[in-house]
Amino acid sequence: MILLVSWIYTLAVCMLAGISNCAAASRSTYNEHLDLKPLPRNNLLASFNFEIYSDSAAETELGNDGQVFWAHYGLFPRSVGQIVQSTRAHELHLRFTQGWWDAEEWGFLPHNGKHAGGTGVEVWAWIAGESDTQAESRWYELVNALSGLFCASLNFVDSSRTTPNPISFRPDSNMRSSFLTYPDSGSSNSSSSDLHLYHGSLPRETVCTENLTPFLKLLPCKGRAGISSLLDGHRIFDSKWQSMALDFVPICDSDNGCRLHMTQKVDVVLDVQRSLQRQHSPIPRPPPPEELHCDISKAYHSESICFPLPNPDVVEWKLSDLFGLKIKSRCQVDQTDGNDVSSSSVCTHITPAWHLTREGGTVVSSTSSNACFSLHESDEFDLAFSTSNSTSVSANDQPPVYIQRSMTGRGQQYGGIQTIIYNPSMTDSVSVIYLESLPWYMKPYIHTMVAGLSSTSSSSATSPSPSASLTQEVMKDILYRPFLERVRGTYLELKLEVPPESRLTLSYDFDKALLYLAEYPPDANRGFDVPPGILTVLTREDDGNMSYTYALRTSSLLLSLPTPDFSMPYNVIILTSTVMALAFGTVYNILVRRFVYEEDLVAQHTPLMQKLKPKIWERWKTPTVSNTGSNKEESAKVQERADAKDRGLKS
C-alpha cells in the first residue's frame, strides 16, 4: 500500500515538474528462470530463460540525435543495442537450432514454438527505411554485424537467402503506438508502412560453442553465476534438440515511454541416460552385466541371455550430473542505489511419481505437479530427481497440427516435394499459414501442385483425391513469387484450413538447376540444404481477429544437384593445348620444312675455295684438248650424268 502511494506520488511529481529524470522510475531489471520437465523415454526438457529490461526513457528525452535514448546501457548489452540502433531495426529475432523435435512424443514445442527456429540459423527483423532498397541495405548491414557478434556466417544471408515480408511473422511489440524515432525518419509517428520485414535462414550453418560463448557474454553475469553457469557446450551440443533464441523487442507505452526488452532462451532436450553416462566415462561403453535392465517378458530371458531395455523405469539423477556442475550462486545485479533488480528461479513440471530433493535455495511453491525454487546469493543449488516410474510424465497437450516434409523422385534433373499436414483434433479445423522459401536452384512448377485430403477418423477411410471443391475448402490463399536465377529464390506462402481428423498432402514437382563451376561449395557432393518450411497456426479470437498461436518447422532437406567433374577444366586445358600444338606444328612443318640430300647440303655449305680447288687441280692436271669432237662427247657424257643427277634430285 505504502509502496503504491509513494509510486503514485513520484509519478505525480514527475508529471508536474516534467523532469525527464523521473523516467528512470522504470528500472532496468534482470530475470532468469529455468524450467525442467521430464519427457517420455527418459528425456528432459530444460528451458533457460533470461530477460533483460533496460531503463525506460520518455519520448521527450529524444533529441535530434537518437543517441540520447539509447544511452542507458547499464544491464542491457551495448553490443546488441548499437547494432540495432545503427541499422534502424525495430525488432530482431535470432535463432540457432540443431536436432529434431519429436512432436509425437514430446508434444508442444516450448513457448508455443515462438522461440524455436529451424535447423541452422534463422534471423528476422523489422527494419525502418524510407524505401525498399534502403531497408534492404540496412538488413545486410544488420546480418553482417550479427555475424561478427555471434561468430556465425550470417554474412551469407544475401538476396538469394532473404525472404521479404512473409505474412507468417507478426511483430511482438505494438508498433503503431509511439515509437522509437530515429533522427532521419521525418515524422515522429513512424507508421508500420515504414517498416520492412526481412527473414533469412542458413540451414547449413553449424551451431557450436563459439555461438554459445557470445550468447552468454550478453548476460549480466556472463555465464559465470546463476542459472547460466549450467550452460556448457559439452552438454548442450550432446542433446537431441537444442535451440538458442535471442529476441529484441522494444516495449513502448504512453506512460513510461520505451524500454528495451531482450529475451534470451536456451531450450534443450537432454537424453538423461546419455548425459549420466558421460559423467562416468566420456565414451559410450556397454554397461557391465549387473547394471543391465533386462526385458523379462522375452521368452528366452534367462541368467545368461538378456534383452536389454534401453530405458530403465527406476531412475535417479541430479541436475549436477546432467550438466556437470552445481549452480554456485545466484546472479545478483544491484543498481547504484543498492536495490537488487534481479530474480532467479527454478521450476519443475513433474507428476506425483517423481520425488525431488533440493540442496540449497528456498521453496517458493510446491504442488504435486509443479515445484518452484528461488536461488540464494551464496549457496550452491542442486536438485535431485528420483522416480520408480520414469514413464509417468506430466501430460503433454497434443499440438494443434503435425507436419512432415520430404523429397520425392529420383535422378539429377527432376524432383518433387511432399508435405503432409495432419490435424489430430476431432472437432476443430485448423487454420495455418505455410511458408516455404526455396533456393533458386530448385525450380518448382506451381501448376503441378496437388492437394489431397484424406480423413484419418476410423469411420471413413478415403484415399487422397484432388477436386475443385476441395481446393476451395482447403486452400484459402496462395502467395507466390517465382524465383529469379541467382538473384532470389521462390517465395511460396499458403493459407490452408485443414478439417478435423484429416491429413492434407501437398505435393509439387521441381527442376534442378545446373550451377556455374564457381557456385559449387568445396564439398559439393554432399548436396545443398533447403531451408525448413514454417507452419504458423492461427486462432480466431473473440473479437474476430486472427492471432498467431503456434509455430513449428519441418526439417531441412538435402538436395543433391548434378555435380560436375571438377577435374574437367584441367583436362580441357591440357587436351586443347595438345590439339593446338599438334595442329600448329603439323601445318608449320608442311609449310616450312624442306628435305635435301646430304651431298647437296654438304656441297652447298662447302666454302668456295674448296669447291674451286678440285676444278683447278683437274684443269692443271689434264691439259685442254683441242679436239672439239671428243670434247663434245666428253662434255655430253658429263652433261648426261649431270642431268641424271638432276632428275634424281627432282624425283
Partner: protein, 332 residues
C-alpha cells in the same frame, strides 16, 4: 609455287630476325628471380621508419582443411589459439579461421570437444572460444583480404578485421595440405607463395605490421616462404621441398590423427613458456629435431634484422608490454 614458298619463308625469317634482335637488345637487363627479389627488397626497405616500436600483438590462425579426417589441422590451429590466449593475446586481437567444424560434427564421439592428444587431458574447445571465420567463409580471397584489409569496411564487423598498425607484431600460422609453393584451401583452391609474398609486401607498404612471424605446417612448407621479399618477416616451415610433414599420433576413440608432428614439438616447447618467460626464438628453433619431426624444419632469417637470440617468444606469442617504472619524483 617455289617462288611463293620462298617468299613466305623469307618473310618468316625476317620476323624471326626482328624478334631476336629485339630480345638481344634487352638481354643485358633480364630480370631473373634473384635480381627481382633484391630490387623489391631495396625499394621496400627504403621506407622510412622501418624500425618502429612494437606496441601490440596480433595473431592470424588459419586451418585450411575441410572434412573429418583433417581433424588434426583444426586441432593444430586450436592449439596455437589456446597458446596465444594463454600468453595474453585477447580474442579481439586474434583472427581464427577454421575451415570446418569438428567439435559439433556428428562424427565426433566427444561433442563440443577437440583434443590434440590421445590422453584427452586438454580440451581445446573450451567454453570461451570465438571463431571469426568458419566453414565456407575461409577462402583464399577472404584470407588475403583479411591480411591486406581490402575488405568492405561498411559491412564487415571489426571483430573480423585485422586492425593492425606499424607497431603490431603479427603471428601468422597456417596449417593444412600444401605442396611446392602452394597451400590448398578447402580442397577447392590454392594460394601460392607469390600471392602471399605480395600480400605481405602490401602490408608493409600500408604500414600494417612491425614484424611478422610466419609459421606453416604443411607438406613442403619451406617452399611457401621462399618468395617473401618484404622486410621484418621471420618465417619457419615444417618441411623442405619434396618432403612431407607427418601427423604425430591418432586417438582410437576420435578415430583420426589428432596433431601434426611439427606443431606437437612446437607446443612441447611452448608449454614451458609463460607470460614472463625469457626464452627466445633461437631456443625454439634449436629445439627442432629432424629425427623426431620426421622432416627438416626450416627457418628463414634473411629478411629479419634482429638477432634471434634477442627475440623473445612472447614478442610474438604473448602480449607482454615492456613497462618502464618511472622512479622520478619530479612532475614531468
Amino acid at each position: 609455287m617455289n617462288e611463293l614458298l620462298k617468299i613466305l619463308v623469307l618473310a618468316f625469317a625476317a620476323c624471326l630476325a626482328l624478334l631476336s634482335a629485339g630480345v638481344n637488345a634487352r638481354e643485358q637487363t633480364v630480370l631473373d628471380d634473384a635480381t627481382l627479389k633484391q630490387f623489391l627488397s631495396d625499394q621496400l626497405g627504403a621506407r622510412e621508419g622501418a624500425t618502429g616500436k612494437h606496441a601490440n600483438n596480433w595473431a592470424v590462425l588459419v586451418s585450411t582443411s575441410r572434412f573429418w579426417f583433417n581433424y588434426r589441422h583444426l586441432a593444430n590451429a586450436l592449439s596455437m589459439y589456446r597458446t596465444v590466449k594463454r600468453l595474453g593475446i585477447p580474442d579481439s586481437q586474434i583472427i581464427l579461421m577454421l575451415a570446418d567444424d569438428v567439435a559439433c560434427n556428428p562424427r565426433n564421439a566427444f561433442p563440443g570437444t577437440v583434443y590434440n592428444n590421445a590422453d584427452r587431458a586438454l580440451d581445446l574447445y573450451s567454453n570461451n572460444i570465438e571463431v571469426d571465420y568458419r566453414g565456407y567463409e575461409v577462402t583464399v580471397d577472404t584470407f588475403l583480404r583479411v591480411l591486406t584489409d581490402k575488405i568492405d569496411r561498411t559491412t564487415t564487423p571489426r571483430s573480423k578485421r585485422l586492425l593492425t598498425d606499424e607497431h603490431s607484431n603479427i603471428f601468422i600460422y597456417l596449417t593444412g595440405h600444401g605442396g611446392n609453393e602452394f597451400l590448398k584451401f578447402q580442397d577447392a583452391e590454392e594460394v601460392s607463395a607469390f600471392d602471399l609474398a605480395d600480400a605481405f609486401a602490401q602490408m608493409w607498404e600500408t604500414k600494417r605490421y612491425h614484424e611478422i612471424l610466419f609459421m606453416i605446417d604443411t607438406c613442403q612448407a619451406n617452399t611457401m616462404y621462399s618468395k617473401f621479399y618484404s622486410p621484418n618477416v621471420l618465417a619457419v616451415g615444417s618441411s623442405e621441398l619434396d618432403e612431407s610433414s607427418y601427423s604425430h599420433h591418432a586417438d582410437s576413440d576420435v578415430g583420426v590423427a589428432v596433431i601434426d608432428r611439427f606443431t606437437y614439438y612446437n607446443l612441447e616447447f611452448l608449454e614451458k613458456v609463460d607470460k614472463g618467460s625469457e626464452l627466445t626464438m633461437k631456443d625454439l628453433f634449436e629445439s627442432y629435431d629432424p629425427v623426431k619431426i620426421h622432416s627438416h624444419a626450416g627457418v628463414r632469417t634473411d629478411l629479419y634484422k634482429r638477432n634471434l637470440s634477442d627475440v623473445r617468444i612472447t614478442d610474438f606469442f604473448g602480449n607482454v608490454q615492456a613497462v618502464e617504472i618511472d622512479e622520478d619524483d619530479d612532475d614531468q
